[in-house]
């Protein structure tokens, strides 16, 4: 599905990522964990084209997408959420998800004006229907008309998931989706992630919430100081002495 | 020839610098653009001219009068066109509307009170010229250079040595920090406007002396150019504005001498646009940009 090889990113004198290899199997939930500053978000930013890598490659289903612009990456089938929520705050929840459909719809300036009786209208209707469906899926159906900026943080995180799913991704990157959630809300998120996986979307997850990671993911990759120090099933990674030293030990 | 042109450019540039510094001071503390700053410059020229015409004052008195008059004018503008918008947390472009309004008022007042004609200072201020090697310098040019340099040195001492000047720099760094340090931001802003406007007023008299073309509309071009120079030096950077002014003066004079003279202003703006595109932090800026 996703194949990252020898990926490196350097900011001036700071090596944020060094020789990162990562292989995500189709249909899996793959977690990337590590202490603060380990390079998890940088990894996401490089994969999704917000940053270009210093070295290495990113391939999606065998197609090299290294260094592509972010919008082309989305067209290729990768969608993401942001650690610091980046919704369109002045638009309502439904409109946010409809913007998410951008990559899968075609109407341009001309179409907006001319609006031929069939194609454009049906595309608009379809976009709206799909957006409502996704809001339903993340439990925000009743909040469709609410301004994104007025939603609670937890609702905003779920709206970001719906917006990302709207681009019909094959691969969904979630950047700390459990941030600021209570235990009950994390359980809801757990269910949501399972539902997404069942719908055929592969999920990569950056998360601090260890319990969630251990429960939901098939594979866990641990980053420390920009390098992969362990990778494997959650149970095995949990026992790995290097991981305990680098991450779990430090956190506890 | 080249040397002479450079001297002329320096002269012109030092008046540009005075105006650009004003923009930089105000942008520094407020992060806003003052679109009537060119009109403050124009008022400085007219106040100076009237002092010479009515009171038969010499250039020194005209200069001081213009400095004081525009300082007061600047404070009035801050109190009426900026502070009330700040109090209501208006968007950044609201002060642009209010200062366009102020500009219109000042232009009409100037036309009504002083007449709409282009006038010059009376020739009582006979220029004397000296030759220094290959260069010719007139007394007016020396006056311009002397006054500009003196004002810039004074400004430098003010921002580095006085409590108020340091408070202004602190506010420019961060309004919040300044407040935490117990600095009254409103007072600092008021003084900043006075200083910025006084510099523009002085520039008005100096330009009036050298070009003999004072009119209620002389501030429009100068205002746009001063803004461009502030940008050249880096937004809100007063030393950048000084160097930027001198540089642009030189570029302008040289482009008149060696390129098509009628396109001189277009050339200046083209340089500005290139800098915006390739070094948006300005020639000397180091800070990040939004």
């Amino acid at each position: 599905m996703l194949r990252v090889e020898g990926l490196a990113k350097r900011f001036g004198g700071y090596q944020a990522l060094a020789d990162v290899d990562l292989t995500v199997e189709p249909g899996s939930v793959h977690a990337v964990i590590g202490p603060n500053g380990a390079g998890k978000t940088t990894l996401f930013n490089v994969i999704t084209g917000l940053l270009s890598p210093t070295a290495g490659s990113v391939a999606l289903d065998g197609r090299d997408v290294t260094g592509w612009r972010a919008d082309r990456i989305t067209h290729a089938g990768i969608a993401r959420t942001f650690q610091q929520v980046r919704l369109f705050r002045g638009m309502n929840a439904l409109e946010n998800v409809m913007v998410g459909r951008h990559a899968r719809t075609r109407g341009g300036f001309g179409a907006a004006l001319v609006r031929p009786p069939f194609r454009e209208r049906s595309e608009e209707v379809e976009t709206r229907r799909r957006a409502r469906e996704l809001l339903e899926m993340v439990g925000l159906a009743s909040r469709a008309g609410t301004w994104a900026g007025d939603l609670t943080l937890v609702e905003q995180r779920r709206l970001e998931v719906a917006r990302a799913l709207a681009s019909d991704p094959r691969l969904l990157l979630l950047d700390e989706p459990a941030g600021g959630m209570t235990a009950v809300e994390v359980e809801d998120l757990n269910q949501l992630i399972r539902k997404i996986r069942e719908s055929g979307v592969t999920v990569v997850l950056v998360e601090h919430h260890v319990r969630l990671v251990m429960r939901v993911s098939d594979v866990v990759t641990v980053l420390d100081a920009g390098r992969v120090i362990a990778s494997g099933p959650p149970d095995r990674v949990r026992q790995d002495p290097r991981v305990i030293a680098a991450y779990l030990g430090r956190e506890a | 020839m080249l040397l002479q042109q450079l001297v002329n450019g320096l002269m012109l540039g030092s008046t540009y610098a005075l105006i650009a510094i004003g923009y930089a001071l105000i942008f520094g503390v407020l992060g806003l653009v003052h679109l009537a700053h060119g009109e403050v410059f124009m008022m400085g020229a007219l106040i100076g001219l009237q002092l010479v015409l009515w009171l038969h004052a010499g250039p020194a008195v005209a200069l001081v009068g213009a400095l004081l008059g525009t300082a007061v004018l600047g404070m009035i503008i801050e109190l009426t066109a900026f502070r009330p918008i700040r109090a209501r947390h208006g968007p950044v472009f609201a002060p642009m509307v209010s200062t366009i309004g102020v500009g219109l008022i000042l232009q009409e007042v100037a036309t009504k009170v002083f007449g709409g004609e282009q006038v010059g200072f009376p020739h009582r201020l006979e220029p004397v010229t000296w030759r220094v090697g290959p260069i010719t310098i007139s007394s007016v040019q020396l006056l311009i250079l002397g006054v500009s340099v003196a004002l810039m040195v004074a400004l430098h001492l003010w921002v580095t040595r006085t409590r108020m000047g340091m408070a202004m720099r602190a506010s420019a760094e961060s309004t919040l920090t300044a407040r935490l340090l117990g600095i009254s931001t409103d007072r600092v802003i008021l003084v900043t406007f006075a200083v910025a406007s006084a510099l523009a007023g002085a520039a008005g008299v100096l330009v009036g002396l050298s070009f003999n073309a004072i009119s209620p509309f002389m501030g429009i071009d100068m205002g746009v150019k001063g803004l461009a120079i502030m940008l050249l030096g880096g937004l809100g950077n007063i030393y950048g504005a000084m160097v930027g002014g001198l540089l642009l003066g030189a570029v302008e004079v040289l482009s008149v001498a060696y390129l098509a003279s009628s396109y001189r202003d277009a050339f200046v703006f083209a340089v500005m646009i290139l800098i915006l595109l390739f070094r948006p932090q300005g020639l000397f800026g180091v800070g990040h940009i939004r």
Partner: protein, 272 residues
């Protein structure tokens, strides 16, 4: 209707067209203080087509709008790199360059401009153009592309992550804005009957900017209301003859102070 008021209404319509032309760029987060430059290009090109080449008015307006749109795309590409106050100053510099160009361009009469322009702009023509623009903008807003523009204004990074091609959308918005200003310039020239570079200087750009900001950024009716204020107020202030601009200026200051977000301020959402 007296011809005086007819002409006032025509100018009101032209100002509405000019202000509406800023709507799309603003939707994509691009404020411009250089629309006087695009207006000048539109005015000169339209006049050349109608007066010198004898084209019909509509064809002339189309040519003027197209020329301005091309210039807009040329400015829009480099303008992608910057935003906010930098973009405002860049567009201002562009407006000045256009003015200085026409000031020196011999075929169009340099500073003395072009006179003897046929009076082709009428109230029906202006109304149709303004109404057409308003309808177009309303259609944009609810469309895929209109949503993309708003998304770009809200958060460029997130918009790009949704698959929006920032370059294409922003350059297109800017070019379409320039097109509107070009058409407005053509209409203006055939009402003023005489054009020279001085009419398209910084003050013209500032006036267009003013109309939009005064009315309220991000609303369709804002530009219309703003245009009404800016056009009609100085006219109705004729009783104060001598001090018209002073009263007008004072009213501007009051508007900015009392309704800083514009007369028709849209609903404020929680700032980011």
């Amino acid at each position: 209707m007296g011809s005086y008021w007819e002409s006032v209404l025509i100018f009101l319509g032209i100002n509405t067209v000019l202000a509406l032309s800023l709507y799309l760029p603003i939707s994509a987060g691009q404020l411009s203080l250089g629309h006087g430059g695009f207006m000048a290009i539109g005015a000169y090109v339209t006049v050349i087509c109608t007066t010198w080449l004898g084209w019909p008015f509509a064809a002339g307006l189309a040519a003027g709008g197209l020329a301005a749109a091309i210039a807009g795309a040329l400015v829009g590409f480099p303008a992608l790199r910057i935003r906010g106050i930098y973009l405002i100053i860049l567009t201002m510099g562009f407006g000045e360059i256009v003015r200085i160009f026409f000031l020196n361009f011999e075929p169009t009469g340099q500073a003395s401009g072009i006179g003897g322009i046929k009076h082709l702009t009428s109230l029906p023509v202006v109304s149709v153009v303004a109404a057409l623009m308003l309808v177009c903008l309303m259609r944009f807003r609810g469309s895929r592309i209109g949503r993309a523009l708003r998304a770009v204004q809200e958060d460029e990074v997130a918009a790009e992550a949704m698959g929006v091609n920032l370059t294409r959308v922003k350059v297109a918005a800017f070019a379409l804005g320039a097109l509107g200003a070009g058409v407005g310039g053509g209409l203006y020239a055939h009402q003023a009957l005489f054009i020279d570079p001085a009419q398209f200087g910084f003050f013209r750009s500032a006036e267009i900017f003013l109309i939009v900001v005064l009315g309220g950024v991000g609303t369709y009716w804002g530009p219309v209301v703003g245009a009404a204020v800016v056009t009609l107020l100085p006219e109705t202030l004729r009783f104060v003859q001598e001090w018209r601009m002073t009263v007008f200026g004072t009213l501007l200051v009051l508007c900015a102070v009392l309704r800083p977000a514009g007369l028709l301020a849209p609903r404020r959402h929680t700032p980011a």
